[in-house]
Amino acid sequence: MGIKNNNTKSYVAPELVSKGRVWGFRIDPYLTLFFFVFFIISIFLIYNPNSSLELYKRQALNYGISLIFFVIISQIPSNFVKLLAPYLYLLGIIMLVIVLLFGVEGKGAQRWIDFGILNIQPSEFFKFLLPLMLAWWFNLADDNGFNKWLNWIVVAIFIITAVLMIAVQPDLGSALMVLVSGLIVIFLVGLPWKVIIISMACMALSFPILWSNMYSYQKQRVLTFLDPYKDPLGFGYHVIQSTIAIGSGGLFGRGWLQGSQSRLDFVPEQHTDFIFSIVAEEYGFIGGTALILLYVALMWRGLIISLNSQTHFLRILGVALSVVIFFYVGVNIAMVTGLLPVVGLPLPLISYGGSSLITYAIILGILSSIKCHSPDTAKIKY
């Protein structure tokens, strides 16, 4: 026991613990800084004097709510998070079932649950719920030495359940991204490369089957992605207008509020999914690159936290969440710049919208919690 205590003491780095506090709360100061930087960026981009909607005020409110989530989640010890993981996952699945049965329709799909004051999109939560669940399972399997193949089968069931239930809403974009977040975890725990290569080949072969089962609007999106000018006023309109917006920004951009494409509504969804076009149009190549690097920095902070954490569970969870955020960023920007077909994904932490913002605040909260509670959990485990 004495060894353990000594070990534990050698792991405890008091200055880290003390640094992980802001105004008496256990929060990572760097993540807090990121949170506020993104808050400022988001408000500046959403502010539009021409619009009477005053979305920026509501976004500020969203940020306020998100901050509460961020702080509260951050206070929860990460081992407690681990204990909660399967129940949260189960809750998420139940919510997906509710969505399918009683969900509110929007944009041709059932994605929302109406709670009166706020609408909740449960598929959002699977961004972290699936990594959480998988990390929990791998941790369990590792501890108990489960059969390797049984292990993979159970993991596959977890992933497929979530992905399918989101896909039938139908929300193919979110489903694919949830799948990717699951795959990141699998990759991280060491899925053999040969399995990865074989499954990728299978996916390529199964594409025709997938294609025949796709909804026509999904097919249209893929087709117009290949040639947006085929339908410049219909499905291709989004991509054409956003590339015009980005291109007209040039090296230094047109300046704040000067982006005619985005501010004058030529780019649709310019406050939500296509908000990156405002960045690129008004702040140019410099601004766009800076924002991408800011996301890289955020991911970097998440990775540092994860690598310094002490348990399998936390390390897997931390890296997975950090990388998932960046993947969402990558897919969103690729979509806005016309590199990927248009799928309805917001830009993390900047796009207008409460549901998405709260989700990312929770993810940041989890990362922060890993940072601030890590040493204590290490004491228990090893």
């Binding site: 007209s248 494409q261 004058l264 399998h312």
Partner: protein, 618 residues
């Protein structure tokens, strides 16, 4: 203890294995993410640096919109400031196309009850414009008076789907009074686009916005001046097409207000007299060429061009009301040409004014069987030039014409605006025909014969003139040879008018002799216009003419019989020309009444009335 330690070591080894795998996989993920970041940044570089120019142009095309600013078309006044052409706002109500038909009917009916217009007419109007307006958001259904428009604006808040719109329409308050010379506006057609005078050379976007141009008369000739210069406005618009802000504005230059030389009082009076006749009257100031009145009958209402039905009726009218007979009507000058032939004789010394000549009932040529009859069965007897003009002897002028020869006649008359344009500021004036050997050979392909010289010298045969040419010629006679270009616009404006010309200088006495002879036409009892004109309170010099429309049989006995049986279409044209006062000419008048019969009849009578009216004012 040992087992426990082994298990612990095992776990530690597992942990290390895991750690190694985990670190390498994390590293691979980081590489993947950085690769993604690089791809995105390269894409941004591609769009924002490499394709920047192209995409910026597309962006500008999206956000910038060019709007024309319409200039106010210049108004047209008569010489006393009466408005002849004006711009008026016409109000109309338009209804939202998106409403269901039942709802539309209900709303239209309700408004018709409130404003007091006919519901059925409004429905008809709506159906007429429904197809035309299907790409717009609204369709017009009724045209309102100013009072109704004001009334509607008071209750407009009740009808969100109806809006009050207005457009500027060209109106002509005097309607048919000056329709021919004013012209009208019409949509630009392919023919107009070829007209270089109508548009500036660089056909910019703004120029392409011109929808209406003058189609006839002054509206056409001074179209660019009246139209003014289009302005433009570059605005920034949002995706919905709504204006956000001005980028650049270039104001329009309004059109110039034109003051015409027309006196609408005279014009109106003349029009009243001839509006149901096929006739033409030109009243011209001999001192400066200003047209005081120029009327063509039958006249039509200029405002009719807004309705297709009315226009079709005009096109189908056999009396050809759309023809401006003053500038486009071609008539044989008949006896009216005689003073000019006499002048040619005096100038070329072929003729002596006092010499008496026996004018019998007919004239014969060697080797020609045909007899050239006088209009007077028994002939005029022994007459000098003075009497020959006053009595309008044909035989006297057959002889004179024969002695002059066609070449001399043609070269003398060509100094007057016969066979060429007078240069009046109206579009597409007819030139008529001044016959000559070359002309006949070119047009008909036959050689000239002497008989044709004879009938040319009494203004028949191939000879064709417009009333305006006659008026110009008569005023040059009054001016002793100065040919003043007739004009419709006063010279003091920014309008370029062609300068006046002179015929060759001839002895003053010759002019006076001709003028005296023309004075005798109205003042001597033997003059052809004496009966009508002798009572005039002013002195004048005139000449009657009777233009034959068809060739009549030669023998005078049968001729009378034939004349009586002629249908109206082939009756003679009645012509009277004059300038007044005789001593100090002010005004020249030409009156031509188609199928009006003898020149000393209706044309002279009407001319007297017109001149009376003129001297009432001047």
């Amino acid at each position: 203890m040992k087992v426990k330690k082994l298990a612990y070591n095992n776990k530690l080894r597992n942990y290390r294995e895991f750690n190694y795998l985990y670190r390498s996989r994390t590293f691979q993920l980081i590489i993947l993410c950085l690769f993604i970041a690089f791809v995105l940044m390269y894409r941004l570089y591609d769009l924002q640096v490499l394709n920047h120019t192209k995409l910026e142009i597309q962006s500008d095309n999206n956000r910038l919109s060019l709007l024309p600013i319409f200039p106010y078309r210049g108004r047209i006044f008569d010489r006393n400031g009466q408005v002849l052409a004006d711009n008026k706002a016409q109000y109309e109500l338009r209804i939202n196309n998106k409403l269901p038909q039942k709802e539309k009917n209900r709303i239209i009916k309700e408004i018709s009850g409130r404003l007091g217009f006919d519901f059925q007419n409004a429905l008809k109007h709506y159906r007429k414009y429904r197809r035309l307006s299907r790409k717009q958001q609204t369709t017009p259904f009724v045209t309102l008076t100013d009072v109704q428009a004001a009334e509607f604006s008071g209750i407009s808040f009740l009808y969100a789907n109806v809006n009050l719109d207005y457009r500027i329409v060209r109106t002509y308050p005097y309607k048919e009074v000056a329709s021919h010379l004013l012209g009208h506006l019409g949509l630009v057609d392919a023919f107009d686009l070829k007209d270089r005078k109508l548009f500036s050379q660089d056909r910019t976007n703004v120029n392409a916005q011109i929808k209406y141009v003058g189609k006839k008369g002054v509206e056409r000739h001074y179209d660019r001046l009246l139209r003014g210069e289009f302005g433009y406005q570059i605005i920034e618009i949002d995706a919905g097409g709504k204006k956000v802000k001005d980028i650049e504005v270039s104001q329009a230059n309004d059109g110039v207000d034109l003051q015409l030389t027309i006196d609408v009082r005279l014009q109106n009076y003349i029009n009243q007299k001839i509006q149901n006749l096929k006739a033409s009257v030109v009243l011209m100031d001999v001192s400066n060429g200003e047209i005081l009145a120029m009327s063509s009958g039958p006249s039509y209402d200029n405002n009719v061009w807004s309705s297709k039905k009315g226009v079709n009726k005009l096109y189908n009218d056999k009396r050809k009301p759309l023809l401006n007979r003053s500038t486009h009507g071609l008539y044989p000058p008949a006896s009216v040409i005689k003073p000019f032939i006499a002048l040619a004789g005096l100038h070329s010394k072929v003729l002596k004014a006092d010499e008496k000549y026996f004018a019998g009932p007919y004239y014969t040529l060697k080797n020609v069987e045909r007899r050239f009859h006088d209009w007077k069965k028994e002939g005029h007897g022994l007459i000098d030039m003075n009497q020959a003009i006053a009595q309008s002897s044909d035989v006297y002028f057959y002889d004179l014409g024969f002695r002059l020869g066609i070449n001399r006649i043609e070269s003398f008359l060509s100094q007057f605006p016969f066979g060429k344009k007078t240069g009046i500021d109206l579009p597409g004036e007819a030139v008529g025909v001044l016959p000559s050997r070359q002309w006949k050979y070119a047009k008909i392909g036959k050689r000239w014969v002497d008989g044709e010289t004879l009938i040319t010298s009494i203004g028949q045969g191939f000879f064709l003139v417009t009333p305006l040419q006659l008026a110009t010629a008569i005023s040059s006679l009054a001016n002793h040879g100065e040919i003043i270009t007739p004009s419709l616009v006063r010279n003091d404006q920014q309008v370029k008018l062609s300068p006046s010309q002179r015929v060759k200088w001839y002895a003053e006495s010759n002019w006076n002799k001709i003028k005296e002879a023309m004075h005798n036409v109205v003042s001597k009892p033997y003059g052809t216009a004496y009966q009508t004109m002798s009572k005039a309170r002013y002195s004048l010099a005139g000449k009657t003419g009777t233009a034959q429309v068809v060739n009549l049989v030669q023998s005078p006995e049968k001729r009378q019989e034939q004349k009586e049986n002629l249908i109206k279409k082939y009756h003679d044209h009645s012509i009277f020309v004059a300038f007044a006062p005789y001593n100090k000419p002010q005004v020249a008048i030409v009156t031509i009444i188609e199928n009006g019969g003898n020149g000393s009849g209706i044309a002279t009578t009407l001319s007297k009335q017109f001149l009376d009216k003129y001297f009432q004012y001047y």
